[in-house]
């Protein structure tokens, strides 16, 4: 006869310990996030105090090293970031959804098995390598096509970010297309729709929220990307006036200037303020994408 009672206090202790361990790891992630937010806030506040919120938010001139009158307006960099990101999404979103549809609906299983890992491999290319391609390949190409002296501009950044956002858009869109119940597809085909009509009229609408979420996550990726845009966009400080102009994004500006700035100066704090803006943008984009995905999951169940 075997007893099923717990064997002594040691077993209890061990279980409690394991439970604690996992709990702590979970809490640590949250603590790190909160810590970063606190740090950003703490180091940004002096900037707003010294520069004034108004100048920071409304000026288009960012010239912290001017001997006469330093200015700290973030608008032109925000505009550059938005511009490069939108450009990237215009290219990668339709392409990504098309590839996702192909993978989920058209491709033979064998083709899918090969193409999917390749798409995922695209995400593994280090951003500095992508930037390198931007300087040596995409840049000269743009310069030749548009007859410019060089091709380091917003368009170049958009093209590269499009490539970098593609894996996110493709894999999340494909996941949501695959999550559409087979019964919808069967119903559509049984009513005499062809596979193409079924994809456009049933599958994509049913997966719409996931596809939108993929766009937002791709966008989050593009906004936060630094090295690639730093290398490819030319980094001119002026307010952007077109895709063939050199632009400087928020991320690139922080990366360029933080290395040279004197600690605890107004300029130093201002860069943290830029970081805070960046963080807030990506945080809300990612958060809403998560909410949308969660909602879709519940809807399709």
């Amino acid at each position: 006869m075997r007893s099923v009672k717990k064997k002594g206090i040691l077993a209890d202790l061990r279980e409690g310990l394991i439970h604690r361990l996992f709990q702590t790891s979970g809490l640590m992630v949250i603590a790190i996030l909160l810590g970063i937010i606190a740090l950003l806030l703490y180091t940004s506040v002096p900037a707003f105090r010294e520069i004034g919120l108004r100048e920071f938010l409304t000026s288009t001139r960012w010239d912290p090293t001017s001997p006469e009158k330093p200015e700290y307006g973030f608008l032109s960099m925000l505009a550059s970031t938005i511009m490069v990101t939108i450009g990237a999404m215009v290219i990668s979103f339709p392409l990504g959804v098309a590839v996702a549809s192909y993978l989920s609906d058209v491709a033979a299983p064998k083709v899918r098995e090969i193409v999917k890992p390749i798409v995922e491999l695209l995400a593994a290319i280090p951003s500095v390598v992508v930037g390198f391609i931007g300087i040596t390949l995409v840049g000269p190409l743009i310069a030749r096509v548009f007859n410019l002296s060089h091709g380091l501009n917003a368009l170049n950044g958009s093209l590269l970010l499009a490539i970098m956002a593609l894996p996110t858009i493709i894999s999340i869109s494909e996941d949501s297309l695959n999550a559409v119940p087979v019964s919808y597809v069967e119903a559509s085909l049984a009513l005499g729709a062809n596979p193409w009509e079924t994809l456009i009229k049933v599958k994509i609408p049913a997966a719409a929220s996931g596809i939108i979420a993929s766009l937002m996550l791709g966008m989050g990726r593009a906004i936060g990307e630094t090295m690639t845009v730093l290398m490819a966009t030319g980094n001119a400080r002026a307010f952007p006036s077109g895709f063939l102009q050199s632009v400087r994004t928020l991320t690139a500006n922080i990366a360029i200037e933080l290395g040279e700035v004197p600690y605890y100066s107004t300029h130093y704090y201002a860069l943290f303020a830029l970081g805070l803006v960046l963080f807030l943008i990506t945080f809300f984009i990612n958060l809403s994408a998560d909410v949308i995905l969660e909602k879709q999951k519940r809807k399709l169940q």
């Binding site: 049984a190 005499g192 009229k201 609408p205 809807k299």
Partner: protein, 260 residues
């Protein structure tokens, strides 16, 4: 024997000849021969896994969706073999409508669900669409319940209502044959009664084939019953004959509940 019986009730709509169906190496239907009469309800009964669903899905080529499915033999609908190369799948599926086991309305409005089959492939103006949608919903005996909320999402309806909506959706494309694949297995008894009554009425205009594992249901609503067992057609006859005086011992055991 079977065919002589059928000649007295009218035209053959579907003629199945030497039908074999395989999923990969596994044979799920063995040499089925059967003629389904026009404007009658024909029930396919048999225990789970006997091939009834596979059989009915062969009639509108839904099995094409399964890559490893392979078919031999012929299925003639109005004397055209639907497995011929020159068959237009879209036209076939408009002619042979299907209602599935689980109600599967699209996550769209009630109106758009019924109009779906009409909007694809052809252009109807709004007035025409509204007319056909209303007609189909009336035919499916759900018009009174939904007429004031046609723009509501169909997923908000109850299971039984969803299933009648799916029937309306199938009727809207004006099929000649409607296939029901265990249409009542996922809805409650009261809803089931309504769907059964509906199926009974449909036979004046359509040829109905229904798969069911519920023998009482087959007895109540069908004119002819085919008994499938392990992929083989054991017996096919008038429903009353199958249930009161079957020719085969297996059929008798099954309809009297000795196995299944």
């Amino acid at each position: 024997m079977v065919n002589t019986n059928l000649k007295t009730v009218g035209q053959t709509k579907i003629l199945v000849e030497n039908l074999n169906l395989f999923y990969g190496q596994k044979q799920v239907l063995e040499n089925i021969n059967l003629s389904i009469p026009e404007n009658q309800v024909t029930a396919i009964i048999g225990p789970s896994g006997c091939g009834k669903s596979s059989f009915i899905r062969a009639l509108n080529r839904m099995n094409d969706l399964i890559p490893e499915a392979r078919i031999e033999g012929k299925i003639l609908i109005d004397e055209e073999n639907i497995y011929d190369r020159d068959i237009d799948l879209v036209a076939l599926r408009k002619k042979v409508g299907m209602v599935f086991q689980k109600p599967n309305p699209f996550p769209k409005s009630i109106f758009d669900n019924v109009a779906y089959g009409l909007k694809i492939g052809s252009n109807h103006n709004r007035a025409d669409l509204e007319k056909i949608v209303e007609k189909s919903l009336r035919q499916a005996a759900i018009w009174e319940e939904v007429k004031d909320r046609l723009n509501q999402n169909a997923l908000k309806l109850s299971g039984g209502q969803q299933q009648r909506l799916c029937i309306a959706r199938a009727l809207a494309v004006e099929p000649e044959i409607i296939l029901f694949d265990e249409p009542c297995s996922a809805i409650d008894p009261i809803a089931t009664a309504r769907v059964e009554e509906l199926i009974h009425q449909l036979k004046t205009e359509f040829t109905v084939v229904i798969v069911t594992h519920n023998m009482q249901q087959a007895a109540r609503i069908s004119d002819f019953t085919a008994f499938l067992w392990l992929g083989e057609l054991i017996e096919y006859d008038r429903t009353e004959k199958i249930f009161t005086n079957p020719a085969n011992k297996l059929t008798e055991d099954y309809v009297t509940g000795r196995f299944g």
